[in-house]
């Protein structure tokens, strides 16, 4: 059976990304393997240490920068993560200095907010309502 093991996000700087995704967002480091100038660097949710890994992938390819910039300009999140309570996370992360381009909005079945991951991406956090 096919399943999702790893998904990735392109980051400008792996060290900075690791700090943001762990210290600020709350993921924990899973794998950190030297790969030439870069690292095979993954994080997981502390709730699911054996769950899907998020690969912090260097956005080195020349196509990555214009792609990311175009998404950010239109406010489009690169990916979305689940949280228990978007509004509580918004308060916690805002207090930690995180920049949101979209405050929590109730969209019916889901409440979402969009933050800047400081590594060139917008990230959505989402809570299913009800």
């Amino acid at each position: 059976m096919i399943r999702i093991n790893i998904t990735s996000v392109f980051v400008d700087d792996q060290a900075k990304a690791l700090a943001f995704y762990t210290d600020v967002l709350g993921f924990v480091k899973k794998n950190d393997v030297p790969m030439g100038p870069h690292r095979w660097l993954t994080v997981v949710s502390p709730e699911q240490p054996d769950g899907v890994e998020l690969l912090l992938e260097p956005s080195e390819h020349p196509a990555a920068a214009p792609f990311k910039e175009a998404l950010v300009a239109d406010g489009i999140p690169f990916t979305s993560f689940a949280v228990d309570d978007v509004r509580a996370e918004f308060a916690r992360l805002t207090a930690a200095g995180v920049r949101f381009v979209q405050e929590p909005v109730d969209m019916g079945p889901v409440t979402v907010a969009t933050l800047d991951d400081t590594c060139g991406n917008l990230i959505q956090i989402a809570t299913m309502n009800g």
């Binding site: 910039e69 300009a73 239109d74 406010g75 381009v101 979209q102 909005v105 969209m107 969009t114």
Partner: protein, 92 residues
Amino acid sequence: MDAVFKAIGDPTRRAVLDELVDRDGQTLFEICSRLTMKHGLTSSRQAISQHLAVLEEAGLVTTRREGRYKFHHLDTTPLRSILERWPIREQP
């Protein structure tokens, strides 16, 4: 004034204005999400961009760039021209 009437003569554009009243200063993505999730409007992002251009031409929407982000803001002052032309009379 023609531009204002053209702008508000379309239900999608009126929905955009409604959502900007709800929260001012939205990205294109947030506007598109709200139209889809709250109004069942499934217009393409390009179509919404064009609607926003019409609203901007009428002065009802302004855009603000902040670093790498772009936000859309509501400006209702062009609507005043309608009331100036046809003032609301108090009923005796």
